[in-house]
């Protein structure tokens, strides 16, 4: 097997004195889509924030393409090829849709052109001049994803992109992710909705209380249903 693109070993993270991650081990291989499942508050968002370096109080090792992320300044992580789509979407209210879309600097060649992005997200094209936060929740989610696709990042970290959205929009986001996957994008997806995730994920990690407690390929999802139902409370 090839080397993992993203590798976490014994990752611990703290909010002040609050110990949120207790030794997370996780791999994502090039071109893979991996889904991180877990109940509210188990540390999924914290994992993504610790990978990006948005949380600085952390120990363990995190490598991306063989490069150490732990000692990298925050603004070098995106340049290394990691694109972050946060749970709260992070659309800027003082920027137009166009400005939001063009904000993240291009870090490598091979990103999508604006035309390709507007083919994928036609809504954004018609709302180009609107204030970013005037978009609907679904459109803001698409904008948050779209702006990372321009930049040429090799891997996306997506935090619950379907949370609180209508089924047709969830469907659309699923199609977009499938399209990205087909283009060879590596994806780490945080989701509580594993019925959505199973359509695109290659592998799953299950997180409980800041630790990974199970890991399995998508083919084993059905036989794990009982466990998942119990752990996720669905």
């Amino acid at each position: 097997m090839s080397e993992p693109l993203l590798a976490l070993r014994g990752l611990n993270a703290w909010y002040g004195e609050g110990h949120a991650l207790h030794g997370v081990d996780l791999d994502v291989f090039p071109g893979e889509t991996v889904t991180l499942l877990g109940r509210n508050g188990v540390g999924k968002t914290t994992t993504l924030r610790a990978i990006m370096g948005l949380i600085r109080k952390r120990t363990g090792t995190t490598t991306f393409g063989g490069r150490d992320l732990m000692h990298m300044p925050l603004h070098h992580v995106a340049r290394a090829g990691l694109g972050f789509v946060p749970e709260e979407r992070g659309i800027f209210s003082t920027l137009s849709v166009d400005e939001n879309l063009n904000l993240p600097p291009v870090v490598a060649p091979g990103g999508m052109s604006l035309d390709e992005i507007f083919t994928l997200f036609p809504n954004l094209k018609t709302r180009r001049n609107s204030q970013g936060t005037k978009l609907s929740g679904g459109e803001q989610q698409m904008l948050a994803m779209a702006r990372m696709l321009r930049t040429g990042v090799k891997m996306l970290l997506l935090d619950e992109p379907t949370e609180g959205l209508a089924p047709v929009i969830v469907q659309r986001i699923g199609e977009v992710l499938a399209e990205l996957k087909a283009r060879g994008m590596t994806i780490l997806l945080v989701e509580q909705n594993f019925r959505f995730a199973r359509r695109i994920a290659d592998r799953f990690y299950l997180m409980e209380h800041g630790k990974i407690t199970a890991s399995f390929p998508v083919g084993e999802l059905d036989q794990r249903m009982a466990l998942l139902g119990e752990v996720l409370g669905v």
Binding site: H75, A78, G90, F92, T94, L103, P105
Partner: protein
Amino acid sequence: MIFGIPLQAFLGQLLVGLINGSFYAMLSLGLAVIFGMLKIINFAHGAQYMFGAFVGFLLLQWLNIGYWPALVLAPLVVGVVGMVVERTMLSRLYSLDPLYGLLFTFGLALVIEGVFRYCYGVSGQPYAAPDALSGGTNLGFMFLPNYRGWVVVSSLVVCLGTWLAIEKTKLGAYLRAATENPKLVQAFGVNVPVLLTLTYGLGSALAGLAGILAAPVYQVSPLMGSDLIIVVFAVVVVGGMGSILGAVITGYVLGLAEGLTKVFYPEASNIVVFVIMAIVLLVRPAGLFGKDA
């Protein structure tokens, strides 16, 4: 005659108000830009304004460099010194309570003013307007000293230009985004620490530019900044922290309000800005253009 006041006197005071308003606008603009990004109230702003005027004065004294080159060099020097201060000292305080930044810039103001007071005393030094702008123009309804007209026009251009740069350019978009959520902008790969340095440099340079523009109007003195900055802080309170356009508009309006008060009730002209500030604080504590109002 207007309300029993001779038109000449009325327009004359309005012009004085507009001149003062031009400086209030430029200075509160710089304060608003710095506060938006750094979340620090730059108490050194008045000292930086004074420093700008002194750079012009000293360039002339020591090197015989005149007004026009000084108009570029003064903001440049003040801006670069500002950037060095931000990089070496101010940036160390970002992780602490904003109060530390305020205290630091307050101390910095005392140091800068103390140095100039030690060297030049408290009396003002004259600084002549350039020949091209000496004299005046008869507008028919009033006599306009050319240099004052120049101050009003340059201030308008600078304020409008800064506003456009922030609203319409890519760098401005970085600035606005980083004002909202600096961590996320940095996680996108933007070097936000450098952006902060540039912002402090820009705000300081605006103060320096106001200083060199003011030199021929008010004379150059170590105290010129501390006299003005109190009023400018009141302007910022009235306009609301963090609104660029609000800071500029409020600056001009309060300058004019001061001028008008001189016409109708001269005794109150020094306090009218503070009266307005008190009223605004009662009615709209976040300021006229403030976000939480």
